[in-house]
């Protein structure tokens, strides 16, 4: 069993210098530690923009709607795995400005349902090689994830989950109370309401730097010839005789042989442009960050009795969150009852954080499906594909989602790790309800 402690704060921003600049063509530059030192010695004047800012062409082989994590990784793997480089990613704002730009950054492979298990296992393996693959520091930190349990029944459920994870080839270690105490001595073990019985440790779980993932995929896709087109909102999808022909945008019409909808919380609006009504309801999920503190929480921890999870960022902020606000919302801000609930859960679990000041909070729009699992599938329109329904688990899925969506768009067949993410499961009843909470969007 390996438990890694937090790496010392590293000045990784240097690696990302220029990543948000536009307009140049300096995209052939390789990043390296030596280069950081050299640039540092000469005033950092040699950095060039990490990707181009092209005008949209009249036609592409593939148009991806949505320049977030999943859209960018799809474009990257279309080029890398399938040699399809005549691709445009259309983003209505700036790249990575949606949920990939604000999330709680947890990366894990601790699912147990067949269908989910192999997918997230594949994703974690891609994460583990991602920095070398992209030549970009995404700060992937496998600091270990501990899911706590608070009853005999919950222990049984976690034993089952741990066995499923091991059967899938991933790692899981069941900890008793003393085992948890060794890792997390600061928890309130003596509380009478929710006593801590133990935890399931997933040593390869951890976190990553969310923006860097978007920027790394963007740079990688750009270097392979993909056009990343920002401030370009799709306003319509052109369909003739059941075949997709292209899209209408705020920067003109763009023809395309294939179109992928990868727009997370706005999936229902974009799919409606193609006459579809999705099994998706959009909800707001809040998260919180405290002021920067010295290293205090080494792992990712989840509380089994309140919906609460926490980790510490490399900058030192405690990053934590809880459950949905439970009613449909595109407001990108949450309400106070859930704020109170999350703070209560945190204080119940680890009273030591009570003096930390919350610096900011936000609400992201989640594309919730009735079974809590995603969709990577064709649509009723030939050449039109959709990747949506990530609920609030989309971040860790970014590599495998792009990998599988690219495979589907290139070959017309579902990738073997994403076969169960078909829309038809809602017709046949083969739902993937990982949490077992029932078929309502707000219950997952």
């Amino acid at each position: 069993m390996i438990v890694r402690t937090r790496p010392a704060d590293c000045h990784t921003n240097l690696f990302m210098s220029g990543a948000r600049g536009f307009g140049g063509r300096g995209n052939s530059m390789r990043y390296s530690g030596l280069r950081v030192i050299t640039e540092g010695l000469f005033g950092n004047k040699g950095w060039t923009p990490a990707w181009r800012d092209p005008a949209p062409k009249a036609e592409y082989d593939v148009v991806i709607i949505g320049g977030g994590g999943h859209g960018l990784s799809t474009a990257y793997y279309l080029a890398r795995n399938h040699g399809i480089t005549n691709v445009a990613v259309l983003e209505k704002g700036h790249l990575g400005s949606g949920n990939i730009g604000r999330n709680t950054t947890i990366v894990r492979a601790n699912y147990f349902l067949p269908g989910n298990s192999e997918f997230y296992s594949h994703s974690l393996k891609l994460w583990e090689g991602l920095e070398a693959e992209l030549n970009y520091n995404v700060m992937h930190s496998q600091r270990g994830l501990i899911n706590l349990f608070h009853s005999d029944g919950q222990r049984d459920a976690f034993v089952r989950r741990g066995n499923a994870m091991i059967n899938q080839g991933d790692d899981a270690v069941l900890l008793d109370q003393e085992g948890v105490r060794e890792h997390l001595p600061y928890l309130d073990f003596e509380q009478t309401r929710f006593p801590i019985y133990g935890g399931l440790l997933h040593p390869r779980g951890g976190t990553a730097r969310h923006d860097a993932v978007a920027w790394g995929y963007a740079r990688g896709a750009d270097r392979r010839g993909v056009d990343l087109i920002q401030n370009c909102e799709v306003t319509g999808i052109d369909i003739q005789g059941g075949v997709v022909r292209g899209v209408q945008t705020t920067r003109g019409a763009i023809r395309a042989k294939k179109v992928g909808i990868i727009v997370a919380g706005r999936s229902s609006q974009v799919a409606a442009m193609a006459g579809m009504r999705l099994p998706v309801e959009s909800h707001v999920l809040q998260a919180f960050v405290t002021e920067g503190l010295k290293p205090v929480i080494d792992h990712v921890i989840s509380f089994g009795m309140g919906h609460f999870y926490i980790s510490q960022s490399d900058k030192g902020g405690l990053v934590f969150g809880g459950d949905l606000d439970f009613y449909a919302s595109y407001a990108a801000r949450g309400n106070l009852p859930m704020v109170e609930h999350v703070m209560e859960a945190g204080m119940t679990l680890m009273p030591m954080i009570g003096r930390a000041k919350v610096l900011r909070s936000w609400g992201g729009i989640m594309d919730m499906t009735p079974d809590g699992s995603p969709v990577i599938d064709k649509t009723h329109v030939e050449g039109l594909f959709i990747d949506c329904g990530w609920n609030y688990g989309g971040f860790k899925a970014v590599p495998a989602s792009g990998w599988s969506m690219a495979h589907l768009m290139a070959t017309g067949e579902s990738h073997e790790v994403a076969r169960k993410f078909r829309l038809e499961r809602f017709a046949t009843g083969h739902l993937l309800d990982e949490e077992g909470t029932g078929s309502q969007h707000n219950l997952h």
């Binding site: 309801e281 439970f326 009613y327 449909a328 309400n335 009852p337």
Partner: protein, 107 residues
Amino acid sequence: MLILECPYCGVKADETELSPGYEAHLKRFGPGSTDEEFEAYMFARKNPKGVHFERWRHAYGCGKWFLAARCTATLEVFGTYPAQVSEPPPDIIAKIRARRPDWSGYK
């Protein structure tokens, strides 16, 4: 804080007193319907960014289900009404049309 007035008991209830349901005015399909109709009834949602009709239960009050018209983008509440109706009442529709002239209707 989201506040909805329960149309049965008249209490202006905080969201902590209420339990959210889901999209209202769905046409129910049961035995004898096609698979497509049943799937759409069970799972497909309009999910509008804007005017939304939804079910709520006054869970920690009178316990009854009622319906609400609300904007999912601004969280503005247009009104609440009893659940024993097949479509939104005219006064709610009028209020929404006044506030959202380009609203395309509830279906």
